[in-house]
Subunit: 295 residues, 2 copies
């Protein structure tokens, strides 16, 4: 077995991503010699103890990172500034500090200025998820065949970046580097906007009057159901993502609303050609995905 | 084996729904003694001949319905008026005329006035589908555990309605009667609006500039993909559905766009509570679906 990449890896936050990493680390043995886990609530930590994938559990984030040569923030992105503040004085020189947040400009904004000299911050985003959350939801194959996007700012220590690339490859990911602003724009389209839309349409349905509302649930199978799956995700995580990718998300949402209104107008005025063209483009995109094996 | 419900069943149109019905009829034997198929294009009919699930193929819809005690319109809803016009003079007294269209008020508007005395028109909607279309796409389990909604106008012959209820039960469906206008409002929410939104977001993504557009396809797995699946459906079928459920669809779309704009405002002004509440409601609806076993 190859040498573990980290002698001691501290996971700050232990939801779907963190607990999947912990499970993989335990299973493979070549990610970390020791996995230390900390989380915000005693309840979560008690459950982590029962699940048995942590070598050590710490209630205090500062203590958790002491002596760790790898530190990974796996909490909602809105908590990054506070966490960085709490752990900064305890980070070991030479350690790699990384995160798994879905918004990279905000991670760099919130964590970057607090990183002590000699600690290497490598912002990253494993693009993987399910609608489940919490320490029970993780599993060892979560990252298999999925992308891990690394967005190191200019000047980031190259060996630290290479280490995190190898880390995600061992987790089963395909790895790519990306400029943080570009990452946030792409993710706004492929993930943040679809989630915002899914939450919104669930709310629209929830506002319906009694009988119709009941029947929406009864007949959900015909399209609506696909929206509810992605709408079942963690509220705090998504609140933080929306608020921390505000600019790109609002830009994409504005485009989408314009397009929806154009479609509305086409339906109102019976513009069959316009509607057909839009549906045809949906098909074309689906075919492109199938060719790219992303479907 | 019970007596076939129809001595001769004519299917007008042979896409996903029609070819699934034909396959089930062939497999079960108790739906129809003979299945006659007609379609708009020679190419489709040639493929039906190869697939072998039709007892007889007719290029002319009028000839196809001659002597049939069951006639089912399985074409896009926009074609119903023309088809009704073409077949009306050839319908046999006592025959049951039914359809599988997704918009019921328009079916009653377009077909109802042309139904000859003595022919029993039972509008119906098997709420089942995939993103595939054409005679190759059908399969015998399509309707299993799915709803078939019957929307007979007042005064419809009760034995004809009961016969169609039994027909769909034998196809594996759960059966429910519904007022046509109510059907159209419920389907606008659970199916037509989600499809319109999915087509729209695919268009929004398709309009992006080169590199970002390419990467949307590359990283589609994180939410966008779920939208493209339902956006891969047949353009003519969906054009017709949108245009024939205009009023209910525009009403629901207007509500949705208002809600999306409220969400946009919450993101812009950092209203964390509002966003969390919306995400929480998405979760709640998902849980309701799971309890109703619709998820």
């Amino acid at each position: 077995m190859p040498e573990p990449l980290f002698r001691r890896l501290a996971l700050i936050g232990i939801g779907l991503i963190g607990s999947s990493v912990a499970r993989i680390a335990k299973q493979r043995g070549d990610l970390a010699g020791e996995v230390v886990v900390t989380a915000r609530t005693a309840k979560t930590l008690a459950r982590v103890r029962e699940l048995g994938f942590a070598d050590r559990i710490e209630t205090d984030a500062g203590r958790a990172v002491q002596g760790a040569d790898g530190v990974m923030l796996c909490a909602p992105v809105g908590a990054f500034a506070d966490i960085a503040m709490a752990i900064a004085p305890h980070l070991m020189p030479g350690a790699v500090l990384t995160d798994v947040g879905s918004t990279k400009q905000s991670a760099i904004r919130d964590i970057g200025p607090l990183v002590p000299a000699g600690v290497h911050f490598v912002p990253a985003h494993p693009v993987a998820g399910t609608e489940y959350s919490g320490p029970d939801s993780g599993f060892t194959t979560l990252f298999e065949g999925r992308w891990a996007l690394l967005t190191p700012p200019p000047g980031t220590d190259e060996s630290a970046v290479a280490k995190m690339e190898e880390f995600w490859r061992r987790c089963g990911s395909m790895v790519q580097r990306m400029e943080p602003g570009h990452h946030d724009r792409v993710l706004a389209v492929v993930s943040h906007l679809p989630h915002l839309i899914a939450f919104t349409i669930c709310g629209t349905a929830d506002d319906l009057e009694g009988e119709t509302r009941q029947e929406v649930l009864q007949f959900a199978a015909s399209g609506f159901r696909d929206f509810t799956r992605i709408a079942a995700s963690d509220p705090v995580m998504w609140r933080d993502i929306f608020l921390n990718n505000r600019e790109a998300l609002l830009e994409m949402l504005a485009r989408f609303v314009e397009d929806a209104q154009a479609m509305s107008r086409a339906v109102r005025w019976g513009d069959a050609g316009y509607i057909e063209d839009k549906v045809e483009r949906g098909r074309k995109i689906r075919r492109s995905l199938i060719e790219l094996k992303q479907a």
